[in-house]
């Protein structure tokens, strides 16, 4: 890791507060309104790691898309440090379940795309190498995405997000498609990146254990249209152990909250 990112990580305030106020949203399916979000209220403190847990298809991903600014909500307000979110911005970056690396770009060029799009690349080339080093992909800079394993591709996607120095990282089941061993490794990876870089993180997952291992707070959503039905604070210092009796107990409670709708 080199100067640019080191400097950034040393800085204490690189994260933002997120405020979601009374957000509802619906999809238009051939003239029929399909409600997906129902009056969501959510506050995330700067530097906090919050997990959104809910049955698949409940609207978690939609909430992230709204926060990313890719779509405006049907009603309600989204605020980043008190400022309304209207458009996508590189300070808030969404990492998808699929790595969605651009197949025609090398890993280096994929990671560089955010800087390139904003015309910062000539001055900040070093950041690309730093981000690649951060996710231990330095040696694969010139590889094409199809040459990477699933875990490596997802790490590259993380590097592509982190190179922009995001203050808020929106993670849409980023580990959902990885095999279980890679998944465990990537959970630790994600955690150490969060601790090192210090962004605010909002993780969508349907894996209760993953939520309890990583997050400061776990928010449970109902089936569609999604409402917040429960909130759990995980008061355990990192690193956490999967077999920690408190976490095992908490896991039972969370699963009970999700109830039979959890699939």
């Amino acid at each position: 890791m080199s100067a640019a990112l080191k400097l950034d990580t040393a800085e204490p305030r690189r994260s933002v507060a997120l405020e979601v106020r009374g957000v509802s949203h619906a999809f238009d399916l051939g003239g029929k309104q399909l409600p997906v979000l129902d009056n969501i209220d959510l506050s995330v403190a700067p530097g906090e790691f919050v997990a959104l847990l809910g049955p698949s298809g409940c609207g978690k991903s939609t909430l992230l898309r709204l926060i990313a600014g890719l779509e405006p909500p049907a009603s309600g307000d989204l605020l980043e440090d008190g400022v309304p979110i209207t458009t996508p911005d590189p300070s808030r970056i969404l990492v998808f379940q699929d790595p969605t690396l651009f197949p025609w770009r090398t890993v280096w060029k994929n990671v560089a795309i955010g800087l390139e799009a904003r015309g910062l690349l000539p001055a900040q080339k070093q950041r690309v190498a730093d981000a690649l080093a951060l996710v231990r992909l330095g040696e694969f800079a010139n590889a094409y995405p199809h040459q990477l394993s699933g875990g490596m591709a997802q790490r590259a996607a993380l590097a592509r997000a982190l190179v922009n120095d995001p203050h808020l990282l929106l993670l849409d089941e980023p580990l959902g498609k990885l095999d279980s061993l890679t998944r465990l490794a990537m959970q630790n990876e994600l955690l150490s990146l969060w601790q090192k870089v210090g962004f605010t993180a909002l993780l969508v997952t349907h894996d209760v254990e993953e939520a309890l291992l990583l997050a400061d707070r776990v928010i449970v959503l109902s089936d569609r249209p999604a409402r917040i039905i429960a909130e759990f604070r995980v008061d355990k210092p990192q690193p956490r152990r999967r077999d920690d009796p408190d976490l095992v107990h908490l896991r039972q409670t969370v699963l009970a909250t999700l109830g039979p709708i959890h699939d």
Partner: protein, 336 residues
């Protein structure tokens, strides 16, 4: 439209050479047989007189003998020739077949007259055309190439830009797509009468026709390519701070290139077809004109000679497009 031949060359060569290195050193057996076949063809050519004189018979025999000599040398030196040797070895059976074809062709036309003049020509007939009519043929090749370059070049640039606009802008697609769907299936040759009438010169009309023929498939496939780029790529780019210009040129265009190249190949084939027809009808030079002109004089040897040139020219251009595609779409290796 696969072009795997070159890639297989190395593997084929090792197979062709393998059994020989066991016997009396590394001798290329197919090369020896090919040399023999070419030598026989040379002997057949000079052994008896032509039924009707064709000219250049002696020179053709010398060329065949020269080829046979080169093949004979290559048969013993093939392992020292490196890459050239491997390619030669790969095409060994083809070289044998060529020698046989030359011999049979010679007998069937010049020596027996089974395939009579003027409708058929022996190989020396073609050779004679190249020697006698060199200047005019070179002119015609250059004329055709110039017309093709103007027409194909402008056609694919326009087709590509229109395709990007159609695939990107909903409003442009609303107006443009029905027109393209209506006009697209009309063969470009159907526009010949009107374009010769409307446009000031036949050269301009020919350029327009070639451009139309090559531009339409490029436009259609570029549009479908741009429209079929994974939506998630746009979302990713937008969250990373990309504006519309960037989304078009750095996401939509590279993402649609595989489609664009399908359109380019289609356009390339159409452009040849229209080029020749346009030249036959309205040009004063060019290979299409030469074909029509020589057919009028029943000079079929000239026609065959021109067809050979066209085959080499067109397949050369196709090859060039393959090379370009493989360079630009190298990232696809392992995906498709």
């Amino acid at each position: 439209m696969s072009d795997a031949v070159q890639g297989d060359a190395a593997r084929g060569a090792t197979r062709a050479l393998a059994p020989l290195s066991t016997g009396w050193g590394a001798i290329w057996r197919d090369g020896l047989i090919a040399a023999a076949a070419w030598f026989v063809a040379a002997v057949v050519t000079v052994a008896s007189p032509d039924v009707v004189p064709w000219g250049s018979t002696q020179l053709w025999a010398e060329l065949l003998a020269g080829g046979a000599a080169i093949l004979l040398v290559a048969a013993f030196a093939v392992q020292r020739l490196g890459k050239v040797g491997r390619v030669l070895a790969h095409y060994g059976p083809w070289l044998v077949a060529l020698g046989v074809v030359f011999a049979v062709w010679e007998v069937a036309t010049a020596k027996t007259g089974w395939l009579p003049k003027p409708f058929f020509s022996p190989p020396q007939g073609l050779l004679h055309v190249y020697l006698v009519d060199t200047k005019r043929l070179v002119y015609c090749v250059l004329f055709s190439l110039r017309l093709w370059a103007y027409g194909f070049g402008s056609g694919i640039v326009a087709g590509f830009l229109i395709g990007v606009a159609l695939g990107w802008s909903k409003r442009f697609a609303y107006w443009g797509m029905p027109i393209l769907k209506l006009i697209g299936p009309v063969p470009a040759t159907a526009w010949i009468p009107i374009s010769f009438f409307v446009l000031p010169t036949t050269f301009a009309a020919s350029i327009f026709l070639v451009a139309l023929a090559s531009g339409i498939p490029v436009a259609i496939l570029t549009a479908s390519g741009v429209a079929s780029v994974n939506r998630a790529f746009y979302d990713v780019a937008r969250t990373l701070g990309a504006r519309e210009r960037f989304l078009v040129w750095k996401v939509a265009v590279p993402g649609s290139l595989p489609h664009v190249f399908v359109g380019l190949f289609m356009g390339l084939y159409y452009s040849f077809a229209v080029l020749v027809v346009a030249e036959m009808l309205g040009a004063k030079y060019g290979l299409g004109w030469y074909l029509a002109f020589q057919t009028g004089y029943s000079a079929y040897a000239n026609v065959y000679a021109t067809l050979v040139i066209m085959a080499l020219l067109c397949s050369g251009l196709v090859k060039l497009l393959f090379v370009t595609r493989d360079r630009l779409l190298a990232w696809q290796k392992g995906i498709i």
